[in-house]
């Protein structure tokens, strides 16, 4: 069983309000901000590890390969995934700003052809571009079934299909996809009992959230294979379908006033704002 997890680095999402727009409006820069692994991609790594291990005896049941499109510095984010427990990494050299969904899908299509994974498991969106397109486009490109926004995954012992729980508008939808498939994950996928793989006993619970790399994991990560590739190695020439003309800051909202007590608040809401 092999899972491919695509990764992207993003400017520290907890400080996304500190990104800067160049004076000519042509570029967004994140100088001074730390690069982080896109949170949803980190969750996908965690889910992939839970699928491919028996938690009770640490036996590995499959391979997790991570692939990142980004500049050479993004090696750090790939290594983080390896330190969490992924087996192998691929870093495809690409400038962050040259990536749109189409370029990523073009490259991933070729990586899938080479790696032949049973499952592509990825974050539902990157939190810089916020486009939420890659999983769905890749599924069409590969001719594989898709399940987006997975909050819970349940696999049989054979790890050949997944019952996917998706939290959608108006309710909870369940889809069963037979591998090979593309699954994108939502934030609840790292809840303690969000992934069942038919090997780890169902009663086992994980700690909340993605795992931290252990010291041993960090040491091992240094020895794990990390292939450095170029887009050209896969015959991909970036051909974005979108053209970003310029960027601007959003209108700022002004802070109002503090009110001393509940009575004043209600009076203001009724008489000044007229919303109750």
């Amino acid at each position: 069983m092999k899972i491919l997890v695509p990764l992207k680095r993003v400017a520290d999402p907890d400080n996304a309000n500190k990104v800067k727009i160049a004076p000519d409006g042509k570029k967004v820069t994140s100088e001074g901000l730390e690069w982080k692994l896109n949170p949803f991609d980190e969750y996908a790594v965690e889910a992939a590890l839970r699928i491919t291990e028996n938690k009770t005896n640490n036996a590995r049941l499959g391979e997790v390969v991570v692939v990142c499109l980004g500049p050479a510095d993004a090696r750090q984010q790939v290594t983080q995934a390896l330190a969490m427990g992924a087996d192998r990494g691929i870093l495809i050299d690409a400038a962050d700003e040259a990536l749109d969904a189409t370029v990523v899908v073009d490259a991933l299509e070729k990586v899938v052809a080479e790696e032949k994974p049973d499952l592509v498991l990825l974050g539902k969106q990157v939190v810089d571009g916020d486009s939420n397109q890659v999983a769905q486009m890749l599924a069409v490109r590969l001719g594989w079934p898709q399940a987006t926004f997975a909050a819970h995954l349940s696999l049989p012992k054979e790890l050949n299909k997944a019952l996917v729980t998706r939290e959608v508008d108006g309710g909870v939808a369940k889809l069963e996809v037979t591998f090979p498939a593309v699954i994108s994950v939502d934030l609840r996928i790292v809840a303690p009992d969000a992934v069942k793989n038919g090997n780890t006993p169902d009663a086992e619970k994980y700690p909340e959230g993605p795992r931290y790399p252990s010291l041993r994991g960090i040491m091992q990560a240094k020895k794990k294979p990390l292939a450095a590739k170029k887009l050209a190695d896969y015959g991909v020439t970036p051909a974005p379908r979108l053209e970003y003309l310029r960027f601007e800051p959003p209108p700022q909202r002004k802070a109002g006033a503090k009110v001393p007590d509940v009575e004043t608040l209600v009076a203001k809401l009724k008489n000044e704002a007229r919303v109750i």
């Binding site: 999402p13 939190v127 397109q133 108006g170 053209e243 800051p249 503090k258 109750i276």
Partner: protein, 319 residues
């Protein structure tokens, strides 16, 4: 000739109100590509639901009677119909987000997600938020067909203006081979007497400060009094207090009610990204330095466990 195709989403046999925002988008975008717009109603009960869409100024209403939603069945139908248009659009609900990138790939089209504004910059362009709403990008789609999802809160629901668009069948299209490997295994509807977050006039949202799911009762009591919806922060969802479909923020629902009451939440920028378009914002938090106060019209520094029940009682007195 219609150049824009709007995809209407069905829920329990009726067109979702959110789809009316995509119609408003189409009304703004269509003149820039010369022409009018059509509406495609696809899903179980589409034939019956099509009648409700004939009064919205479309040149035609197309109908595709389909089984329960899976992308592998719907995307070929929408793409098949969509190839006759310059723009194919839907509202960015979970349905639109799941379906439209597939449609774009079928059409080899570029896609602009979560568009908030239509602009003319030497041709049709869109404004869309990035970086949790901290940057607005002006973007052009370069392919002959453009695929767009629109942010519901930024386009008012289209009003039915009479008229009678003719209803036609959409061209049939076979599911992709991948459809054989995906099976709908159930849908559990969330039964709630409260309005949907994206439709609500009032929203009361709770954060980690609520400390437990049980404590959301005080949020619900206030929301119910105001006929409002209940929202939550990502931290509250992460902690398991409430389901993810109540999440307001960058990766949850984007809302813009008349009144947003933020309770026990600090105002992480991922949350602000989902609610700072609200008309009036009230913040209740015991930490006077909480960032939520920087966007709140009215801030109350107080212990929420006392302030919220007191607020509910006080509002009862004046309603």
């Amino acid at each position: 000739m219609a150049n824009v195709l709007v995809i209407a989403e069905l829920f329990e046999g009726k067109v979702r109100k959110g789809s009316l925002s995509a119609i408003t988008f189409a009304q703004q975008a269509a003149p820039l590509v010369g022409g009018g717009y059509d509406i495609l109603v696809a899903g179980p009960g589409a034939k019956a639901a099509a009648a409700s869409m004939t009064g919205y100024g479309a040149e035609s209403v197309l109908v595709a009677e389909l089984p329960d939603y899976v992308a592998e069945v719907y995307a070929p139908v929408v793409a098949g119909a969509g190839k006759a248009y310059k723009i194919v659009c839907a509202t960015a609900t979970t349905f639109g987000k799941d379906l439209m990138p597939q449609v774009a790939e079928h059409l080899k089209a570029g896609m602009a997600s979560d568009v908030v504004k239509v602009v003319d910059e030497g041709g049709l362009a869109y404004v869309r938020p990035m970086y949790a709403g901290n940057v607005l990008a002006h973007v052009k789609v370069k392919t002959p067909i453009q695929v767009v999802t629109v942010r519901q809160t930024e386009f008012e629901a289209a009003a039915a203006g009479g008229g009678a668009s003719p209803v036609k069948d959409a061209p049939a299209a076979a599911p992709t081979p991948a459809a054989a490997r995906v099976k709908v295994a159930g849908f559990e509807k969330v039964v709630s007497a409260r309005p949907e977050l994206t439709d609500a006039r009032v929203i009361v949202s709770g954060g980690r400060g609520l400390k437990s799911g049980e404590n959301f009762k005080i949020i619900e009591a206030l929301a119910d009094l105001l006929h409002g919806a209940v929202g939550a922060t990502r931290a509250a969802v992460d902690a398991g207090f409430v389901p993810n479909d109540l999440q307001v923020g960058q990766t949850g629902k984007i809302v813009a009610p008349q009144l947003y009451i933020a309770v026990g939440l600090s105002g992480a920028l991922q949350h602000l990204a989902g609610m700072k378009g609200s008309k009036v914002i009230v913040a209740i938090n015991k930490d006077p330095e909480a960032p939520i106060f920087s966007v709140a019209d009215y801030g109350l520094v107080a212990d929420l466990f006392q302030a919220v029940p007191a607020l509910t009682e006080q509002i009862k007195k004046v309603l």
